[in-house]
């Protein structure tokens, strides 16, 4: 059977691959959306933090023999702690200023992080093996699905919806949202708002590192792996609506699918299609698909 001249098996496999990439976009754009929504900081260091997450996993494995599963927890904790330090020492001073200052600071930090890793490890990247438990693949009839890729989708979606649940449905999430709406009143109610904000930034950064560990067995772990991805992820956030939690998750998945389809019908355009959609969305709905105007 063929659809638009493309065998349906190929189409099915491309949609699945799109979903896999979409789940990466979802985790990364979720972290960005949380940081922007609650701190008003455009975190340009997100790609570098994703890269550092992958590197910590690689260093842990090769230097200390720490396996993938431990790294999946450990790396977000370490990089999240780095994020906490950054927030306490630098970002904190910028909240009252224009968005641009935060953007410039985090962009500068990203360049420094990438430079440091490049100096140490070179540009070609390092190889991280797929964990033993997730080796191999299953034949779905229309495609061969590596088990690891299936795991990526499950892990990413679990983390995404878990995060959404915490922020939208729990008391902690309510404090967070209230703290950003009106910090004075929340503070007056006896809640430590600055601590809450520090924690939020750390969590957003940890999400980036988590995505980095997920990506390590798939891509070469290289200093520039984040800078290639971050621009697309920003487009995802803009399309979803800056700061919208559910918006960023759904848009991430959706754009992964659209990108997958473009790779079948017109592969040359697959790097551009996300930006074309971004332009269209900004023209029609400047606040993004899920944003509040």
């Amino acid at each position: 059977m063929e659809i638009f001249g493309v065998p349906s098996a190929l189409l099915g496999s491309q949609l699945l691959v799109g979903l896999i990439n979409g789940s990466f976009y979802a985790v990364l754009s979720l972290g960005l959306a949380i940081i922007f929504g609650l701190l008003n900081i455009i975190n340009f260091a997100h790609g570098a933090q994703y890269m550092m997450g992958a590197f910590v996993a690689w260093i842990a494995l090769t230097k200390f023999g720490v396996n993938y599963w431990v790294a999946l927890l450990l790396s977000p904790l370490i990089i999240g702690a780095v994020g906490v330090v950054l927030e306490r020492t630098m970002l904190r001073k910028l909240y009252k200023l224009d968005h641009l200052y935060g953007l410039l600071l985090t962009f500068g930090l990203a360049l420094i992080f990438e430079g440091l890793f490049r100096d140490q490890y070179g540009i070609s990247g390092q190889s991280y093996p797929v964990p033993d438990l997730l080796q191999g693949g299953v034949n779905l009839g229309f495609m061969f699905l590596p088990i690891y890729r299936g795991w990526v989708v499950v892990a990413a979606l679990t983390v995404c919806f878990g995060t959404w649940f915490i922020i939208e449905k729990t008391k902690l999430g309510a404090y967070l949202r209230a703290g950003t709406e009106n910090p004075q009143i929340v503070q007056a109610l006896g809640i430590n708002v600055p601590l809450l904000i520090t924690f939020t930034y750390g969590f957003g950064v940890a999400l980036a590192a988590f995505a980095g560990v997920l990506a390590a067995p798939i891509y070469q772990v290289s200093p520039l792996m984040g800078s290639n991805l971050i621009i697309v992820v920003f487009a995802v956030v803009v399309i979803g609506g800056m700061g919208s939690i559910m918006g960023s998750i759904l848009t991430g998945l959706g754009l992964g699918l659209i990108e997958g389809l473009t790779r079948v019908f017109y592969p040359e355009a697959s790097a551009v299609v996300v930006f074309v959609i971004m332009v269209l969305v900004l023209l029609v709905r400047p606040a993004g698909l899920f944003g509040k105007a």
Partner: protein, 404 residues
């Protein structure tokens, strides 16, 4: 007896005068070599800081062997793979800093830009990193030398060997820019000429990180061989993901441009049994091992063919100047073309009128982890491709300098 002594004395004096006169013909009594390369981007492991080290080694070795009357200096800069930065830097070097030659120039676009400046200002351009064939064809000029390798030699080595060994049907994964397209074109021609068939190709954006979609299309084509007409991180990511999706080992990959640094970063488990063409391997003989060990001690990595070629080209250039006692561009070019190149890098090299340095190339197959004795022990050399067969024959040249 007296007479003989006198003659000797007179000859010595005459020689001294001559060499004095000769060194006066070297501008500022200094030969200044500029290394213009990618110091921090995609190609910095292939070329980059390693070529700066190789250049310095060549200068040190030259001074030790020739004890020249003139000084040799080096400057280096990062062109960031951008043609405008490269041409501005080259112009500044030539006009204001007394640089005599711009060298290395990885990425074709920067190379072509600097070749134009070199021609305009009559300065020598020595290229090691760039790969495209237009450098010695449509765009060739009489001040430029393309030294280490090109896409023709790569395609001719890898695609020919793989097709002749039974890999008759091909599908190309091509980086969607000039270099990738040139490599696909050259390789397709070689495949067809050797009785193979090209079933299709997919052009991926450059750079890309996820190749699963493209690999699935290659898988669906049913081709025996998937030709990777890309380079650097694109190639390594594609190879890694091909194994993940079960594309290999059912279908074979052929890396059309792979460096030892790529194999090192991929690891043998991912890269094993692949064929590739290279202009240099550190473990060929005693000479290559000795030089590479010196390089390794300084750089902590084994040399890529670009880095080894950089050393060889700089030494050849300096020896030419020393032999004729002038840094006049036309004379230096004539001397370099006239003199055969024989060192650890090129056993029987020569520079043709189109600026192409032809030398033996090697068809290598990546070892399996079991076969390798340790880090950097990566290649079986399966065949030596003689200089005259490895590169595009002059009869097919599109360079106006070639008289037919």
């Amino acid at each position: 007896m007296h007479m003989k002594k006198l003659t000797t004395l007179a000859c010595t004096a005459a020689l001294a005068t001559l060499s004095g006169a000769a060194s006066a013909q070297i501008s500022g009594n200094t030969v200044k070599i500029g290394v213009l390369t990618d110091m921090s981007g995609t190609y910095s492991d292939v070329a980059g800081p390693g070529t700066v080290i190789a250049t310095q080694m060549a200068i040190d070795d030259f001074i030790a062997e020739a004890k020249p009357a003139f000084k040799v200096e080096m400057v280096s800069a990062d062109h960031q793979n951008k043609a405008d930065i490269a041409s501005n830097k080259a112009r500044e070097w030539f006009e204001r800093e007394g640089v005599d030659t711009a060298t290395e120039l990885v990425t074709t676009s920067t190379a072509l830009a600097v070749m134009k400046i070199g021609k305009e200002m009559n300065k020598v351009v020595l290229m090691n990193g760039p790969a495209s064939t237009p450098i010695t064809n449509e765009q060739c000029n009489d001040v430029s030398v393309h030294y280490t390798y090109d896409t023709y030699a790569l395609a001719n080595g890898t695609a020919k060997a793989v097709t002749q060994q039974g890999g008759k049907t091909w599908f190309f994964l091509t980086a969607d820019y000039a270099f990738g397209q040139a490599l696909e074109k050259d390789s397709s021609a070689v495949v067809v000429a050797n009785g193979g068939k090209v079933l299709g190709s997919v052009r991926h954006p450059f750079p890309a990180s996820d190749f699963s979609s493209f690999l699935l299309q290659a898988q669906a084509s049913g081709a025996q061989i998937i030709g990777l007409a890309n380079a650097g991180a694109d190639t390594t990511n594609a190879i890694k993901q091909a194994a993940e999706f079960g594309v290999t080992p059912k279908q074979q990959l052929a890396g059309l441009l792979m460096f030892i640094s790529d194999v090192h970063s991929l690891g043998l488990k991912n890269a094993q049994t692949m064929y590739l063409t290279t202009g240099f391997y550190w473990d060929l003989d005693d000479e290559t091992r000795a030089w590479s060990k010196r390089f390794f001690d300084k750089h902590k990595r084994m040399p890529t063919m670009v880095q080894a070629g950089q050393y060889s080209s700089i030494l050849h250039y300096l020896r030419a100047i020393n032999a004729i006692g002038t840094d006049d561009t036309a004379k230096v070019m004539a001397q370099m073309k006239k003199t055969p190149i024989k060192d650890f890098f090129a056993k029987n090299g020569r520079i043709r009128e189109d600026g192409r340095m032809v030398h033996d190339m090697y068809l290598a197959q990546v070892k399996t982890p079991e076969e390798s004795k340790g880090p950097w022990d990566y290649y079986h050399i399966r065949a030596t491709i003689p200089a005259e067969e490895a590169f595009q024959p002059l009869s097919e040249s599109r360079c106006p300098l070639v008289k037919k």
